[in-house]
């Protein structure tokens, strides 16, 4: 994919880095020459300049890119200006970083496709981890539901999903089972493991020791799920 990252603060820098690492073509823009230099040999283009300058934005050809990320957080005015210009030029997909709720609200109002608040999002993830220590992972689905990853309790081991009947008993749906299988080398010695996903599991699928369950549940039900033993 072709992506432009405007603003090489902590967020923009990491984002550009990850995209390049994963083989995407990235254009970076920042006022700070030193930061831009870091990308000189790996980005498709590394531009030193002020992104509020519309001619600079036009030169990026945002209408031909898969996404443009506006990672200017500390200067709300500049962030909004750049976003509006990108929309005027016809950028196909704009993602913008917001510094706070007010900034996020403005970006959403002007019609930015996706607004992110990295600090808030990672704080939310840490808070989740503290509040729900038994969850390996959590993805929010809409306002009221989540997909959670949780270790199967001992009482489930050896039973099939049909026998457990979790949908009726707890109003949750097991959408996948994450299982780790041992791997052996040619001489039969244990070497490591491979992980695979049984998705969607059949009702006859048996839960094995230490399987991880991926469960669709309402948020208010999570505490109940965590009490499984």
């Amino acid at each position: 994919m072709q992506v432009a990252v405007i603003g090489l603060g902590r967020f923009g820098f990491s984002l550009a880095d990850i995209l390049i690492e994963n083989g995407h073509e990235v254009l970076v823009v920042d006022k700070d020459e030193k930061l831009v230099q870091e990308f000189e040999n790996k980005a498709r283009e590394a531009i030193v300049g002020d992104a509020t300058d519309e001619s600079l934005l036009r030169s990026l050809g945002p209408q031909n890119l898969d996404a443009v990320v506006v990672a200017i957080g500390d200067d709300v005015e500049a962030s909004v200006l750049v976003c509006i210009s990108l929309m005027d030029i016809g950028a196909r997909y704009i993602i913008a970083k917001a510094e706070n709720d007010r900034h996020a609200k403005i970006l959403k109002k002007i019609g930015i496709h996706k607004v992110v608040q990295p600090e808030r999002d990672s704080a939310k993830a840490v808070a989740d981890h503290i509040m729900h220590p038994k969850l390996f992972d959590r993805f929010y689905i809409g306002e009221d539901h989540s997909i959670i990853e949780i270790k199967s309790p001992k009482s489930f081991w050896g039973k099939t999903l049909m026998e457990l009947d979790l949908r009726r008993k707890y109003n949750v749906l097991v959408i996948a089972i994450k299982r780790r299988e041992p791997m052996f080398d040619s001489s039969g010695e244990i070497k490591g493991f491979k992980e695979h996903l049984i998705a969607p599991p059949s009702p006859n699928e048996q839960i094995l020791e230490h399987d991880v369950l991926i469960v669709l549940t309402s948020n208010e039900n999570i505490k109940e799920v965590e009490r499984w033993q």
Binding site: R180, I190, G192, F193, H210
Partner: protein
């Protein structure tokens, strides 16, 4: 019981997803041979199989500390890479 026999039994339990039983067996054997490389390695992989990655990592590091040039050092280094990448 010899360590080789214990490891064979552990492997049998692991292959059959009887991880709790395998853990019990290794821990008991480790009481007698606390620094045995093969037992420690099997325990570390077992913890990974049980989704207890922090415990596994701790044991891999311990193996590397005791046996920097041991029989399993390449395997251990490979396993540790996974934790560094994640």
């Amino acid at each position: 019981m010899k360590i080789k026999e214990i490891v064979e039994e552990v492997k049998f339990y692991i292959m059959n997803h009887k991880y709790e039983k395998a853990e019990e067996l290794i821990k008991k054997a480790l009481e007698e041979h606390p620094n045995n490389e093969e037992l420690l390695y099997n325990l570390a992989v077992l913890y990974e199989l049980m989704h207890q990655d922090p415990k596994a990592e701790e044991i891999y590091r311990r193996i590397l500390e005791i046996y920097p040039e041991g029989k399993r050092h390449k395997d251990v280094e490979e396993r540790l890479k996974r934790f560094e990448e994640s």
